[in-house]
């Protein structure tokens, strides 16, 4: 029987096909490791206290990764080592585009890293054209017969990457894996998956590329870090991509545990717009009294008069309606469209903005990454709120000035008070711009 679904993977009994009898080569390992008072899940490495996760009759389960099928002492893991059984294609890249000189240089560095199986961080600013820079490296790795995966914490990023890569590598079959799909798993040389799906792999990939490492839920998630390590072969390499590396990654860079390359300029060669800060210490109480900070009203008025589109971010979903009411006091005739994560018309509203049918959109942090509107300004009310991490703020600022026709845009933050996250975001943008200026 064909057992390729076990190559480089560790599956539970209940994940195997019905009536499947494992051959002698299949390695069977216990699913959990029992210590005195703790029990460790070998899939996600989470250690729970045994009193919390006990089943009757001295059995235990792992509550942390239960969404992928329960790991318990009642079941075992089945595994086959990765044999790299792929037909070799000499030059699989069918993409015809060209890279800017800067992109070209980064692309060469990435090629080098994947070839030598380095652990590496590619810090490219928002809107730098990261995906295109990977093509050459992926192509070389594929022709070397390596197994590759591109993982991202976000499903929508995976869904967006899949058609782009399928187009760039037209003769290579790609496997797309995420939690919301019905298609079965297939053994392919190139896999695109969410970071959660990596939990099912074990020593599978010669090179693993993790996109948007700073995004939820990957950032600060010990289970997913562990999954990443487990999914790579012991001799394999790993490339992290991000526009906003967190302190943990940067510490690793400082200790020289991982290499780093920068791409501080956008694809059109301009710097990131820098954040301008306005203090509005009483905006919370103002918005409750249906008022807005005067400077914010002015900023909105100018943009309405000059017909300049903008995005306005507020911290919480509850603030959306408050803002809408307040705004109608100042601009009674102005239509105000708000959008949040659970909004049923979310996609339609974003499309309205994209088609320039509306001048502005009021939103929460759901639009922080992955969306491109051509010539917009970005306004953030209450940027010091805890929901905005410094990575989120840099991403939000990165929505501005993405097009060649208007490479600059205003980024204005209204704060109740200076917070650590705002400072860090400002510092990070200044830092990459400093690097960028040297290259301009």
């Amino acid at each position: 029987m064909n057992e390729d679904f076990l190559y480089g993977r560790r599956l539970l009994i209940q994940e195997l096909p019905l009536n499947y009898k494992p051959s002698d080569q299949v390695g069977i390992s216990p699913a959990m490791e029992l210590k005195k008072t703790m029990i460790r899940c070998t899939r996600c490495n989470y250690t729970s206290s045994i009193s919390e996760v006990a089943l009757p009759q001295n059995q235990y389960f792992c509550p942390k990764c239960i969404a992928l099928g329960r790991v318990s002492t009642l079941t075992k893991f089945y595994h086959l080592p990765e044999p790299n059984q792929f037909p070799t294609v000499a030059d699989p890249l069918t993409w015809q585009g060209t890279l800017s000189p800067l992109q070209q240089q980064c692309s060469l560095e990435v090629c080098h890293c994947l070839q030598r199986h380095f652990k590496h961080l590619l810090w490219a600013v928002t809107g730098a054209g990261k995906t295109e820079m990977l093509f050459a490296a992926i192509s070389q790795a594929l022709s070397r017969g390596e197994r590759l995966a591109i993982a991202s914490p976000r499903v929508d990023v995976c869904l967006e990457l899949y058609p782009r890569l399928q187009l760039a590598f037209a003769n290579i079959e790609i496997c797309l894996l995420h939690g919301r799909q019905d298609e079965p798993y297939s053994y392919r040389q190139l896999t695109i998956c969410t970071t959660h799906q990596l939990l099912r792999f074990y020593h599978a990939f010669d090179n693993l590329i993790v996109d948007e490492v700073d995004a939820f839920p990957y950032a600060e998630n010990q289970q997913l870090y562990f999954a990443t390590q487990q999914a790579i072969k012991p001799s394999g390499g790993c490339l992290f991509l991000t526009a906003t590396p967190g302190p943990k990654l940067l510490r690793q860079v400082k200790r020289k545990e991982i290499g780093i390359s920068y791409l501080p300029l956008r694809y059109h060669g301009h710097l990131l717009p820098e954040i301008k800060v306005k203090l509005a210490p009483t905006w919370r109480s103002q918005i409750k009294q249906k008022k807005l900070p005067r400077t914010l009203v002015q900023a909105i008025k100018i943009r309405l008069v000059q017909h300049r589109p903008f995005l306005l971010f507020v911290p919480h979903v509850a603030d959306l309606s408050l803002f809408k009411i307040s705004l109608s006091k100042y601009f009674p005739k102005q239509e105000c469209v708000t959008v949040h994560a659970a909004d049923k018309k979310r996609l339609e509203k974003v499309q309205l903005m994209r088609d320039q049918k509306i001048l502005f959109l009021v939103t929460t942090s759901i639009l922080e990454r992955g969306v491109t509107f051509p010539d917009i300004d970005v306004l953030v009310l209450g940027a010091d709120d805890n929901v905005f991490s410094s990575a989120a703020l840099v991403q939000i600022a990165g929505r501005a000035g993405r097009s060649l026709s208007r490479p600059t845009g205003d980024v204005l933050f209204w704060l109740g008070s200076y917070s650590v996250n705002v400072r860090a975001a400002i510092k990070q943008i200044k830092f990459v711009n400093q690097k960028g200026r040297k290259l301009q």
């Binding site: 209940q14 919390e52 996760v53 006990a54 089943l55 009757p56 009759q57 059995q59 389960f61 509550p63 239960i66 969404a67 329960r70 318990s72 009642l74 079941t75």
Partner: protein, 228 residues
């Protein structure tokens, strides 16, 4: 820091003034208020037979069928209505196998059972296949601080298809899956018996169990389920 067992948000466990000043024991929350609001508790008027929520207190058509078929009526009481939240809850508890969820409704279920003042409580058993894969009986798991006796035993007829995976007509034609344990006749005779199950859907499972108990002539027979 306590996380909600259903949605993983952090539960704010600040004590209210009433809690501090009252002499009642403090009940630790297992799920957050947002999740708790999704569940619908059943209140009268409901069907006298199955405990389903109804506009007037009368026998629903299903229960009339059961009365004609079995010759008696099982008086069932349930805690929750079987809505989307309950469905999700059962999915996570039974099928995903998150045994921690047994605590969520165990207190309320205990109050419901204790109010009925029974002599003997019998949980519906699970079959051997379920024991091997799930590793727990979802009904017994919820019976916290309640004395019960496993007088019903699942006949191992190698039935891998779960009752909840069947269509309605398939469920209604399921054969008797249980048998009685030792000394059942002595223990059941002239006692008030309560059968406990997780969900009352068609009533087939509970009526199978009730048929066996009824044959031992209890003084009264009722049933309690988490959801209806």
């Amino acid at each position: 820091m306590i996380q909600c067992l259903l949605c993983n948000t952090i539960i704010d466990n600040q004590l209210s003034l009433v809690q501090i000043l009252s002499f009642k024991p403090i009940v630790e929350k297992t799920i957050c208020d947002d999740c708790a609001d999704q569940f619908e508790y059943l209140k009268p008027p409901f069907c006298d037979g199955c405990g389903k929520k109804q506009i007037v207190e009368e026998l629903c058509s299903d229960c009339q069928m059961w009365r004609d078929k079995s010759g008696y009526l099982l008086h069932n009481r349930s805690l929750l209505a079987y809505n989307e939240a309950t469905k999700q809850f059962m999915q996570q508890y039974k099928f995903a196998g998150d045994f921690r969820l047994r605590q969520v409704f165990s207190d309320e279920l205990r109050h419901l059972i204790n109010d009925l003042h029974a002599d003997l409580i019998i949980p519906i058993p699970v079959n051997e296949y379920t024991w091997k894969t799930r590793g727990f009986n979802q009904v017994v798991g919820m019976l916290n601080n309640i004395n019960y006796e496993n007088l019903l035993i699942s006949k191992n007829n190698n039935q891998h298809k779960l009752q909840s995976h069947k269509k309605r007509y398939e469920r209604l034609f399921t054969k008797q899956p249980f048998k009685l344990g030792d000394q059942s006749l002595k223990k059941i005779k002239d006692k008030k018996i309560i059968l406990v199950d997780d969900v009352y859907t068609t009533g087939r499972t509970l009526y199978h169990a009730a048929d066996l108990v009824q044959s031992c002539q209890p003084s009264e027979l009722m049933s309690v389920t988490l959801a209806r």
